[in-house]
Amino acid sequence: MTPADDRDARHGLNAVRNCFHGVVPAVIATASADGTPNVTFLSRVCLVDNERVALSNQFFSKTARNLAENPRASVLLVDPVNYEQYRLTLVYERTERRGPVFERLREDVDAIASITGMQAVFKLRAADIYRTVQIERVTRGGSRPVPPPFAGPVGTGASFAGMAELSARLGRCGDLDALVSVTISGLAELFGFDHTLILLLDEEGKRLYTIASRGYGTEGVGSEVIVGEGIIGMAAARAAPMRVGNLRQMAKYSRQVRRSYEGTGEIGPGHEIPVPGLADANSRVAVPLMALGQLVGVLVVESRRSVAFDDDDEALLTAIGSVLGSAIEAERARERDEQASSAPPQTASAPSNEGVATTVRFFAVDGSTFLDGDYLIKGVAGRVLWSLLHRYETDGRVDFTNREVRLDPTLELPDFRDNLESRLTLLKRRLQERGASIQIEKTGRGRFRLVVTTALNLEGVDAPR
């Protein structure tokens, strides 16, 4: 027995807990009563406690039959940090179809299913619980150097000082635009989270839209995620954090399972759910932004590294999510209160613009708006822009208040939780990102100015004028 073997055995499964992230596919062997072995790959082995693991039961037809006859299994696991390999000798204990272990495993299975949109067919049937009777280290290449371990999570974990500093910065923010900007920059400066997205829930509670991001080629403002789809959508649907450290493996597995289902005709051809963020992300944490128990949005942090985030990072981001969610909701409430008593806007004449005109094409059916043929935005934000430009063209108006925009019946805003400030912030950021000839500038609390630097050619398709 090597010292490593002894250490692993004495500490049980907690000593090898890194193996349970699923970065390297596990392998399981079982045997039938007549002594015929069966060996197959596993997408994930779930740690239950220091002595037990759980395996998801979806396709284990032969494995399940073997276990009914001969309740023993042998599993290979690889630690994705130091690439130590372990062989576990397991004895089947029980099958669970409800309870916390089942729910945890179901979360994993649902996350895989959500990548390719097959939640309707790819579901956890049961969680099989095994007791571990032996842990054996079977790493080879002993003379080879141990690869350098990860430098730890990219964030600094439970950094109370960083959290205090970020909270103080958020407390000084005067509007939503500042809140999301300060959060994104603070996460990078104070904790080292270099790839970050903030998404807000839409008025109908069905979609999330990206309002701010950092660390991507393009800011991606306005990209959307349907609630319940993908890791981000699931964090929103469950109002609970989601953390994965093996996105590439999950995506590969999900694509293959989907192809298999398509082959049987159980589901038709589909596609991978597009997700804003890093195309080659391997780790992702998505935490809900909560206020008064209600979902406001989702904060997402990503990395190209495997298992880049740990429990401390998730806890830190969850705390930040609560602070940010409450701050956003408080800002919205304050804006609504102030606008109820706001003075009418001062108006300024639109400057005369010459030269090449910018063509704005608007589709009333969904609010899709294009500038010179390039997509800009859709939905409420698109309708807001169309309304503003219409007034600019007909009345020469450039100064507006949120209140008068909110009262515009053509926008069809809901009476409650209209998120107008969020939509204006989204619109402002999209116009900035595009370097458009139309910009929005804040001129005070609940006030803004439309800055247009070219002549406009407005083309509405079934649009109100």
């Binding site: 062997a29 790959f41 599993v75 054996e136 391997n282």
Partner: protein, 224 residues
Amino acid sequence: MSDIGGQSVVDGVSVAVMGASRGSSPAPWERRVRRPRHREAPWDFSPRKASATFAKKFLTAISGEFGAVIDAETVRMIESDVSLVVGLVDGSGAPIVSRACGLNVLDANAGTVRLLLDAEDAPALAELVHGAVIALTTGNVRTHEAKQFKGHVVSIEAATPADNARAAQYYDDFCRVVEESDGIERAAVERLIPTRFVACLIAFDEMFDQTPGPGAGAPIEGET
């Protein structure tokens, strides 16, 4: 090896490995037909049934009557950069999982392959004897497509220089695809590479689709 939680531990196995002094005891691969040993099996493990099934499979296989025909596409696949894992069963009926280190198909029509295994994996090697039933699963690193082959061990031999070169080539290919597909550096994968190998001649007589999905575990018809 050791135990945890006060539970019973699979019997320790002492085996000779390539290059080690074996004294007068035969090496594991020099032992003859495996007899399932009924040590402790409170569950439904039946040595008699196991012996009968094994004998049937072994006799039909050595007669050449039912050897698996491995088609050209499958040959190309299993000789490439796929992940290779094997399942064996010890004398008490307990399964043992291990990794393989490359293979060559010797006769596609007879379903015979020369499989390279870790010479330091004592528990697996202890069961790798003439006639032992073995399962091999090959997994495509890029797509997770997988196939499982089941058959029996015909012979175990010391690895030749050609075998060592084959293993080196296999790990070159495997490390490359893992790095491309999963972003895992070669230095990390090298931690899993054995330093010594044994060669195992296997005759396969069954093939299964092991690709994850609703069809996982289905026999591949027309090839057995």
